[in-house]
């Protein structure tokens, strides 16, 4: 069969562009490639904001433990403070939730579950809530009467009870025992309980034998992550809400995976549709004007999305910015358009740190000038 010249040209172009892509695209091997970047006033300004003198007595102000900037697959900035070093597996707190979502993404690509399926299909202890679907949990929209506040309402905080007292033996079971006070899928309410029910459902999806190693076999090992620790409760369920640890450089690998739409080298580790779901605002989310700077919930990731009638949460960062965010200033920011991944570990004990300010300074220091 003769091949039309036009088609031949198309094929040739495709091959050439793929080869070009493979040449231009950098990926970390055992270590990250490092690009030398000359000092500049913009980098000095970033450093001044992220690493002011630490006051260990008052623990006030911005207290970064680590700041790592990856541009197009290469380290362009890296600094540590306090006792944290390049090889410290730092607690990520609620960044864990988005890491759990990435692990679920691998299971999703393997056809282990559907977003529209009831959670109880994979986690029978959730039988009291037959209408709650996996997708609802990923949007933090289970409708359960969960109380997330901790430091200011420790008596009634569901999270404190789950992590430290009444719920600690079986955190997902503790969350499942909460009554519903809204229809599933109708109301956003940030809930560490929803995340731990997902962590328990993962066991039903992949099987009890594969479960204890699944985060490693599914995600960490393919990405070359060697520092990860993920604590479990007494029931053996990963504390998906809070207790994963890894080095800043390893967390940046997950950032690069997300920046490149779930692809790691040649392999589409997370389906593109999964990443698209992660990055889609929860449909029934109502932005609160009273809380400017609050990112928009997606599928277990946080989005700098512009919703109708509201400015985007981080005005100085592009609208395609999304992030995994945790207690005390932990953050993994992904800026796909700018080809930037930013890891920040911290010990912020007051609310003075601003995502927008850090991103603004990172962009000023490291965003590549667009060629005209």
């Amino acid at each position: 069969m003769p091949v039309s010249p036009l088609r031949r040209l198309g094929l040739a172009l495709a091959v050439v562009s793929c080869a070009g892509l493979a040449r231009a695209e950098r990926w970390p091997g055992a270590a990250w490639p490092v690009a030398e970047v000359a000092p500049s006033p913009a980098i000095a300004a970033l450093q001044a904001y992220a690493f002011p003198a630490r006051d260990e007595a008052s623990r006030s102000g911005v207290r970064s433990d680590a700041l790592l900037v990856i541009r197009d697959g290469q380290v362009v900035y890296e600094r540590y403070a306090g006792p944290t070093r390049a090889d410290t597996p730092h607690l990520t707190w609620s960044v864990s939730k988005s890491l759990l979502a990435a692990i679920l993404g691998v299971a999703y690509g393997e056809g282990r579950f559907q977003l529209e399926a009831p959670v109880a299909r994979y986690y029978p202890a959730f039988a009291a809530h037959p209408q709650v679907k996996v997708g609802h949990l990923l949007n933090w929209a289970s409708g359960l009467a969960w109380q997330e506040d901790y430091e200011y309402a420790p008596l009634k905080s569901s999270v404190v009870a789950m992590l430290y007292t009444r719920g600690r033996a079986d955190m997902a079971g503790f969350a499942a025992a909460h009554a519903a006070d809204a229809a599933p899928g109708t109301r956003f309410r940030y809930s560490s309980g929803d995340s731990n029910v997902l962590a328990a459902a993962l066991q039903g999806m992949v099987g009890a034998a594969a479960y204890p190693d699944y985060p490693w076999t599914a995600l960490f090992e393919p990405l070359g992550i060697r520092s990860a620790v993920w604590e479990t409760d007494a029931a053996g369920t990963f504390v998906g809400s809070s207790y994963s640890y890894m080095t800043a450089r390893d967390l940046a690998r997950i950032g690069l995976l997300m920046q490149r739409d779930g692809r790691w080298g040649e392999r589409q580790l997370l389906p593109r549709a999964w990443v698209a779901f992660n990055r889609t605002p929860f449909a029934n989310y109502r932005g609160q004007a009273a809380q400017p700077g609050e990112a928009v919930p997606g599928g277990h990731w946080w989005l700098n999305a512009e919703l109708p009638g509201a400015p985007r949460p981080w005005a100085d960062a592009p609208a395609d910015t999304f992030a995994a965010l945790g207690h005390w200033g932990q953050a993994l920011y992904v800026l796909p358009g700018a080809k930037l991944v930013v890891v920040r570990y911290a010990d912020d004990r007051d609310g003075s740190y601003r995502h927008n300010q850090l991103l603004k300074l990172v962009l000023a220091a490291f965003a590549e000038q667009l060629q005209p």
């Binding site: 006792p83 597996p89 607690l91 008596l155 009870a161 430290y164 490693w216 990860a228 620790v229 640890y245």
Partner: protein
């Protein structure tokens, strides 16, 4: 009666309300004293044996407004016990991937 003893009636009313509130929140109140020991033991254990930070740093890292009445870190067993509000709690390091977890039963603090 109310007109004759207005303060006593008010006090009784407040007491009844408080009792009702306590009863309504009994599960929360019962668990509350365990928080400080459990938080300290767990987060110190992870700070020390997962993140690998120095002991002095971890002691400051877990410090809260409520004081501890006892604390013991057993580096050989990688086991941390903390006592506050009359409740002792123990966290144990389990392995390089598993990190630390609170034990169901606290290990008694050593006699000092």
């Amino acid at each position: 009666m109310i007109r004759r003893r207005p303060f006593r009636t008010l006090l009784a009313l407040v007491a009844v309300l408080l009792a009702a509130l306590a009863w309504q929140n009994r599960a929360h109140l019962q668990a509350f004293p365990r928080i400080i020991g459990a938080y300290t033991a767990k987060e110190y254990c992870s700070c020390r044996y997962v993140m690998g930070h120095p002991a002095a740093y971890c002691a400051a890292y877990v410090e809260q407004y409520l004081p501890l009445s006892g604390f013991f870190d057993d580096p050989l067993k990688r086991r941390v016990t903390a006592r506050g509000l009359g409740s002792s709690q123990t966290a144990q390091w389990l392995g390089p991937r598993q990190g630390c977890r609170l034990l169901a039963q606290a290990v008694p603090l050593p006699e000092s």
